[in-house]
Amino acid sequence: MKRRKFIDILLGSGILATAASIVYPILKFVIPPDTAESAIMSASAGRPDDLPPNSGKIFQFGGEPGLIVRTAEGELRAFSARCTHLNCTVQYDSDEKQIVCACHGGVFDLNGKNIAGPPPKPLLTYSANVRDDEIVVLRV
């Protein structure tokens, strides 16, 4: 093979490979992923049937934990699950019908108001609605 041809082949394959390593990531990037974009103003907290009266569960709201509670009377209430004391995740206490923090015993009522223990302020509250068999929690 002549030197000139060898250089052309080398250069051509280099250019092709470089172009491929630029174009491939770009093509992959422009195709949207299967995962839906995280909705920031709202989040799904699961199906209403999965949340019986007098129970609560943690769900993800953006990058933060949220707490959805169905009261004994069947009403849905949603809060930020971050304890206002030291940011531990709070939970629903079905015996006492209160929201409690296991870390330092903070207690909140079902309006999110801090009623006992160290938390200095109420939990952030969200609004919870049922839409198409799904609990949708919205920032107020």
Binding site: I7, T18, I26, L86, T89, G105
Partner: protein, 718 residues
Amino acid sequence: MAFEQQHSPPLRGGESLLQRFRDKTIPIHRHTIWYYFGGMTLFLFAVQVVTGILLLLYYRPTAESAFESVQFIMAEVSFGWLIRSIHSWSANLMILTLFIHMASVYLTRAYRRPREATWISGVGLLVVVLGFGFSGYLLPWNKLAFFATQVGTQIVGSVPIVGSFLLKFLRGGGNVTGATITRFYAFHVAILPATATALLALHLLLVQLYGMSTPPDYKAGRTMRFFPNFLLRDIVGWLVALGVLAALAAIFPWDLGVKADPFAPAPKGIRPEWFFVWMFQTLKIVPAHVWIFEGERVAILGFGLLLVLIAAVPLLEACSSSVRPSASGWFTMLGWILLLYVFVMTLSGYLETPVFASTLQVAAPDELFRSDIHNQRGITCGDCHKDNPQPEKREVAALCARCHSDLNYMRRFNPQMRVDQFAEYQTSVHGMRNARGDENVATCTSCHSVHDIRRVRDPRSPVYPTQIASTCAKCHSDTKRMAAYKIPANQFDKYRRSVHATALLDRHDLAAPSCNNCHGNHGARPPGVDSVASVCGQCHRQEKDLFGKSPHAQPFQDLGLAGCVVCHENHEIRKTDDRMLSTEGIGVCSACHSDDASVMKIRSMQSSILKLRLDIDTASETLERAERAGMEISKTKFNLEQVHAELVKARVSVHAFSPEKIAELTNPAMTMTAAAHKNADRALEEVAFRRRGLGYALIAIAVTIIGLLLKIREIESR
């Protein structure tokens, strides 16, 4: 390094710009290397445009979703991490190459006639590029960028006359908010690109028109053709830059940081992007006042003036050289001084440790009563002392109670204020002894001070939560004084080693208990054996409830054991440890349990908790490795955080002393931990994939560079 000005002839009749471009030659000399930095900056600008357009497909410019959309790009979109990291890295490299390009043009005096307009358009491009940097920094809406923008726009607000207008214009209001993102987004993707395109077109046109300037020792004849010789060499440089960008993006993906919270305190060590640090440092060293003007305003004016002077250098130098030929040497020296200043100030910005001075001033003795809350409410010496100029210690409480137990009187100051303190005090150990004439016990002034009594919520008050333990210790750590009452004098030392003191005094968690939370304040006395659990249960309610229903509750009551204190001590309450749930080592169960059945139960509870903790630790470690490698793993971290909350619940449930109850919590938590661990492993596999991809891309780039170099040699040997 003075360059001779090579005046390019104007376009000849019929000669097109394309013809000029085709025939263009590049002089070869020892400073030819500097010619490449303009092209390199242009290449990096092109990378910015392409990656910027790609990012627009997913980015959302609002305070609510900007951070999350960048997080989405980094974590969910294929190669999103690569596109965003390349965008950020190439922005910084572009500014660096632009600085080098400008410095080389300045120091080689390539700005001289006829290239004055080229230089001025270049200075304009510098301003636009800095604007890109400033506006782009805020767009991910993270904590550091938020505060840096707040400081940066505040500085702009100091510009004389138009400052407040500029501040509002930039922020889209009085503060940095979602409106600021929208504005910065508009600047970043519309206004600045349009300006940059116009300036760049002018700049490149002028470069083609006037050609390259050459040094005086350049021997005419040594040139190379712009196309293909110089352009191919330029491309080699661009490919090297591309390789460097790919490596930086793959090995050090651009960090996203923490979402901005306008209500959070500013983090330590906030500083602007590196290219603004020298200005930031200058503002720090400028005195508060320069003559009659505010120092900051003078410095801002100085920066503006410096920019105008830099733009006007070709004209200034031409004027001064025509008067005095040696003046041009001064311009070079000034250039070096400015470069050195920028370098030193930037370096000092990165080397200095952020200092946060917060010293509390203590009032001088003669000012004591001035800071007293009574004085501030109009109460004078006579109100306390007219009937009794020097009250005895045993009379003090009653003296204070004259007002503080009078509901109608206290209501004038604060309708919610308590008036039962004296009554409580009389039931306390202190009050009862005081009533019997014991002058050694505490009364109001022992804790609240005498003439500089402050509100309880004033951090300087001796009864402020962080001060109470020390206030009690004034007497309770006095061995001689305590010996008379047969009370140990080591409670404060023990308390200081406790988990509560660490939280209150070291971490300043004002919710953590001090002496008064367990003993009461005005009615101070030790809690009885039967009330210990209730006292601790004020905060540890779940533990108290579980313990109350547990098999331990009744036997403890029957044996007269003081609940929580049996396992956790009273003053020296140490941070709990999973090893305490054991009959061995520091285990607290061995005091009562030694039979096989109990030991089996205890081991079962401990092993459930230890296994979960071990699983969480292992998963966290893998996750940290992935995070250190630059992976966006916030979702998995969130899940692991929830598992940790389950571990806390399991630890609390230990107080029910039921292995089944603990297993109910730990078993699902272990499944969640396994899933988190799997995700962490996947993230590490992704790191390996990125490194492999980088390797392939670098090989491709290297092959192209070798091919290009051989091609250049072949062309030049023809």
